[in-house]
């Protein structure tokens, strides 16, 4: 897919996105992150119920060449993981904002939202 950054998402400088729905959020990695990583060939989802902390790695995605940590844009508890990715990790490349989502999280501190970037700020970061 072509380089895109949806306007309805919030972004973390470590190239993660989050879609907020009330107190729940979906996390994934951005187009830039999947492009830099190359074809994702392995993804082992974290456990449902695990705690994630803002700015801390909570899972890994692997290309043939490398392992990359994925950072949590916000803190909370994992309520769902994308099981489809175990068999089809390439969805992270082909549809990073849709079928390539990684986890859903019940947020523990919605005030953290203020620290995230909107699409223009994130695009500004990429071009700097």
């Amino acid at each position: 897919m072509a380089e895109t950054y949806p306007e309805d998402l919030k972004y973390h400088p470590e190239h993660d996105w989050t879609r907020i729905e009330g107190e729940e959020a979906t996390f994934g990695i951005t187009w830039y992150a999947q492009d830099a990583l190359g074809e994702v060939v392995f993804y082992d989802p974290p456990a449902v119920g695990a705690t994630v902390s803002k700015d801390q790695p909570y899972t890994e995605v692997e290309s043939v060449k490398a392992v990359s940590d994925v950072f949590a844009p916000l803190s909370g508890e994992i309520t769902a993981v994308n099981d489809k990715l175990s068999d089809s990790p390439e969805l992270i490349n082909s549809d990073p904002y849709g079928d390539g989502w990684l986890v859903k999280v019940k947020l523990s501190d919605t005030a953290e939202l203020e620290s995230l970037l909107d699409v223009n700020a994130y695009k500004g970061l990429l071009s700097s």
Partner: protein, 374 residues
Amino acid sequence: MSTAAQDLRQSPLRDRHTAAGAKLVPFAGWEMPVQYEGVRAEHVNVRATAGMFDVSHMGEVRTSGPQAEDLLQRLLSNDLSKLAEDGAQYSVLCNEDGGVLDDLFTYRLDDGAFLTVTNASNHERDRDWMAGHAEGFEATVEDAAARYAMLAVQGPMARGAVEAITGGALPKRMRTATLEVAGGETLVCGTGYTGEDGVELLMPPAHAVAVWDALLAEGVKPAGLGARDTLRLEACFHLYGNDLSVERNPIEAGLGWICKLDTQFIGSEALEGVEPEQTLVPFAFTGPGIPRQGNAVSTAAGPGEVTSGTLSPCLNTGVGLAYVPKGAAEPGTAIEVDVRGKPRAAVVRERPLYAKQPARPAAHDPDSPPKKES
């Protein structure tokens, strides 16, 4: 980023890489293509048809003079007297302790000189080591790296593609020939590091673009250093800095077959009678996960360590090379790899992990007589 990139050395093919959509990365002081369309696709293409790798970052050392062979016999682990005219030979360069300084191919050229191809990250050290030991020999050691660009053309259709742009017959495996390729003089070597048939081409940097374009026109697709690494790992070829280092000797690395101790090369005394506790083995995961360099290995005979790991594009499973205790080196032995805290089941395998497929036309032609196994 841009200032660092300016310090990196550039291949004469850089514009061609950019045009082909390469992702360029710093590699041993050079900016080189790690991939174009994707490591997996490029890997599979080399196994199925033909791919070309720009390996111009690799260095060359030329050794000439009446005692050039004697000097190299002293420096390199293999038996130089067995290196045929126009031949190629694989060896390691060791220090006095038998630690590996580099692994290299040496070609005996038709003018009587020798050309040794070095790993980019070791080139200066190799050159200085070789020149530093030349005293007392009637031999000249020259850094020839600036004289050559290097392309590896590999895969079942590689020879045909190179043949189509070459005046004259290509050299056989482990042989070399100086031939006109795409209109310019090129050293053609029947070598490679992918486990496939093919050749390596050494030409003046100014001629590299012409060769590249001619091969592209023959349908050879670019392949990056990422695929080169996964291909060599499936073939169980060593990578210096991963599977070989000054901390390891060639015997434990499984390279005893290129160490001719009676030639009295530097390091041979230290290697005499060496019975290493560990040995390098290929392994494959039996479940999910991808092993990586540095992962700890547990075996019934004691601990070990992964030195290379990847997802094998052909076997579609995690594979690697690991140093394990001798008692766990037998193919079929179950071992466990700690992948960042997750224990992953693996089994020691025979080498190579992936073997070149037999030529297809004969096997699939119902009219051809049954093949006799030799």
